[in-house]
């Protein structure tokens, strides 16, 4: 169903203009610190103003606009089978899980443990099977992998367990190269991957207003290979950004624009997403608070800021501080995912699976979030009003006192009008008792078992797997 007009905007057009102007002033006057001379040289050659003494690059307004104009307003994050391509910049909202945690809540044991390579494979399988999660972000650190072939392995096992687009962070340029070589091999040709990239890379600046040399190495490599990227600022209101929402947005917008601009200097036309991960600090005790209601508002506002430039956005939603799937996780996740979606974000990451301020995941949370997102998608598609749905004919036919259960009209519309949850408990009390008092969580647990027990091992072609393993001996088995 197509999305209708976004019904909620945190910023007025005047607010948007003021924030954008302040951000541009930050870029022009304060600048971005870049901790690597070679990159400063590249930016200088391209026309940026460099303050050599304090390693800062400043963006003069006209130059900034000229560079930003090179960035595409639409592009596609391809799936490998063409069934789940993500069309950015087309007004459609897509959701992705969240990445790179170190801990998992293991419902089998009820406790937490470090994440392993098999968790990469399992979460990829979950995303592959869950309809409302459109692409897979490498979900966790595989603690059973050695650093030297790290990204070769996490991307390989992700690609082998989902045909959806795979996004991930890379630790270094070498890591990005491993990922790229593997992807070229799977694509068959370098040109093929360049045309239809089914992998993309996430990086972050360091708020406030700093970008690490290693991050720029990764970005410049990916942009040169036409691998889509984002350089997504993660300012924390009250810690690494002003303790006002407007101030945090000004800084974040400046950082995000700098990320887009620098990628365009590296490779004009580079496929880059404007990134936004603004969060907050609970200043009572300095507890990091990823999922505050202010985080939801700011991510909604970030969409408005990206829209001024017509850049596709990688925004954030669906996080929680809760340590288990519970009431807190349910409401925190719903607030941010819904609000950011209603603002029309192209891609909402962190939308599924996350717990514990981005430190942990649980498989059950993946399927629960998939259901929350299903409801959000239903909200976005709105109420369809036309001759048929108005239903005068059937109302006249049934007349006062009848019912609609067996009417053709009911049978015609019942499937598309309603969202049918898999996990919410809707049965009546007696049946609920009979079924052993299920809850959303217990049903999520059952669904996870069903999906993972199904033996969906190895989506890549068997011959290809053998060839890959011959070509890349660094690949470990699960």
């Amino acid at each position: 169903m197509p999305m209708r007009l976004p019904p909620y905007r945190p910023l007025s057009p005047e607010d948007v203009r003021k924030i954008d102007q302040t951000s541009r002033r930050i870029l022009e006057r304060v600048g971005i610190r870049i901790l690597e001379q070679s990159h400063l040289n590249i930016l200088k050659a391209a026309g940026a103003i460099i303050d050599q003494s304090d390693q800062k690059v400043r963006f003069e307004a006209a130059w900034l606009d000229e560079i930003l104009a090179r960035a595409p307003s639409q592009f596609i994050l391809y799936s490998r089978d063409g069934k789940n391509d993500v069309h950015l910049g087309k007004g459609k909202v897509y959701f992705a899980n969240g990445g790179r945690v170190f801990r998992i809540l293991d419902m089998g044991t009820g406790g937490y443990r470090l994440t392993m390579l098999r968790d990469v494979a399992h979460t990829a399988t979950l995303v592959h099977c869950l309809d409302n999660i459109s692409l897979y972000i490498i979900a966790c650190q595989a603690h059973d992998l050695q650093p030297q072939h790290y990204h070769l392995n996490d991307f390989y096992h992700a690609l082998n367990h989902t045909t959806k687009h795979v996004m991930g962070g890379c630790d270094s340029r070498e890591g990005a190269e491993q990922m790229w070589e593997l992807s070229v091999f799977i694509a068959g040709e370098e040109e093929e991957l360049r045309e239809k990239p089914f992998v993309s890379v996430i990086t972050n600046p360091i708020s406030p207003l700093t970008i690490d040399g290693n991050t720029l190495d990764i970005l410049s490599f990916c942009c040169s290979k036409s691998i889509p990227v984002t350089c997504a600022p993660a300012p924390i209101s009250g810690a690494t950004a002003p303790a006002t929402l407007a101030g945090t947005l000004c800084q974040m917008h400046a950082e995000a624009l700098a990320g887009v601009a620098i990628c365009q200097v590296f490779s004009p036309g580079a496929k880059v997403l404007y990134g936004a991960v603004p969060t907050t600090m609970d200043l009572r005790h300095m507890e990091y608070t990823m999922s505050s209601v202010e985080m939801a508002i700011m991510n909604g506002a970030a969409v408005q800021l990206a829209m001024i430039y017509d850049f596709p956005i990688y925004a954030s939603g669906g996080v929680t501080e809760a340590k288990r799937p519970d009431i807190q996780s349910g409401c925190e996740k719903t607030f941010s995912n819904l609000m950011v979606a209603m603002n029309g974000a192209d891609l909402i990451h962190l939308a599924a699976g996350m717990l514990d301020s981005g430190n942990s995941i649980s498989y059950e949370q993946y399927v629960i979030d998939n259901e929350i997102i299903g409801m959000i998608n239903r909200i976005l598609s709105g109420i369809s009003v036309n001759e048929g749905t108005l239903g005068f004919g059937v109302i006249e036919k049934v007349g006062p006192g009848g019912n609609y259960v067996m009417e053709d009209h009911t049978i015609e519309y019942m499937k598309e009008e309603f969202f049918y949850p898999d996990l919410s408990v809707r049965c009546n009390f007696d049946i609920w008792e009979e079924r052993g008092r299920p809850s959303m969580l217990s049903r999520a647990n059952d669904l996870v078992d069903e999906i993972l027990d199904d033996g969906r091992e190895g989506l890549l072609d068997t011959d290809l797997i053998l060839e890959i393993k011959k070509k890349f001996p660094g690949i470990q088995n699960l």
Partner: protein
């Protein structure tokens, strides 16, 4: 002058300018040094602690008050005899090698500084060698390490080994922390202490050096 109301109020407010001026006025008026300290500054910080624990003050305010007190101390310190006013302990702190996360580390450093420790902050991506050298150079009582990536935690063990090799492991206490770090990990790598947040880091540091 026996009334330090203006000074205590300024410290509680975190108004550095007024507090420093009040301190200077008290000194000029010939007030007793120990009184300025006890009835002025420490009395103020006691109230700050009280207000913080009952939720009337937030962390930024508490840190501002501590900072205000330190600025006042700069005026008083030179007037005390060397050994009358020792700082609580010397702490060398940093985020370990290849780790760039510093928000938590900065908070720990700020809180410890506020509690009277002398802090040397080495920043982020600090190698075992740099930790060791600095600890030797300043004669550290505590080496405090932060790691936010499970993949950089091994650098904590290496740093402890480097301290050992340099022959100063028994002279310094090692404290570690950061989201993926645990009490178990601390005992596994033979660190002396682990603390889960900045407030408890201060308590743990005091305990390590047996100070109150």
């Amino acid at each position: 002058m026996s009334d330090f109301k203006g000074l205590t109020e300024a410290v509680i407010k975190g108004d550095i300018q007024t507090a420093v001026a009040e301190t200077q006025t008290a000194l000029d008026a010939g007030a007793n040094l120990q009184d300025i300290l006890d009835k002025g500054l420490i009395a103020a910080m006691d109230q700050v602690g009280e207000k913080f624990s009952t939720g009337q003050m937030f962390v930024p305010q508490m840190l501002r008050s501590a900072k205000t007190m330190q600025e006042c101390m700069k005026l008083i310190k030179p007037l005390f005899q060397e050994d009358e006013l020792a700082t609580k302990g010397k702490v060398v702190i940093g985020t370990v090698r290849q780790d760039l996360h510093d928000i938590g580390k900065n908070l720990v450093a700020m809180m410890m500084e506020g509690a009277g420790f002398a802090i040397t902050d080495l920043g982020v991506d600090v190698s075992p060698k740099d930790f060791t050298q600095k600890a030797q150079e300043v004669g550290a009582d505590i080496v405090a390490m932060s790691a936010l990536l499970s993949t950089t935690m091994p650098a904590m063990r290496e740093t402890i080994e480097a301290l050992q090799e340099a022959g100063i492991r028994d002279k310094v206490k090692v404290m570690i922390g950061g989201a993926p770090v645990t009490e178990n990990f601390a005992s596994e790598i033979k660190a002396d202490s682990y603390a889960p947040d900045a407030g408890s880091a201060v308590i743990a540091a005091k305990k390590l050096l047996s100070i109150s």
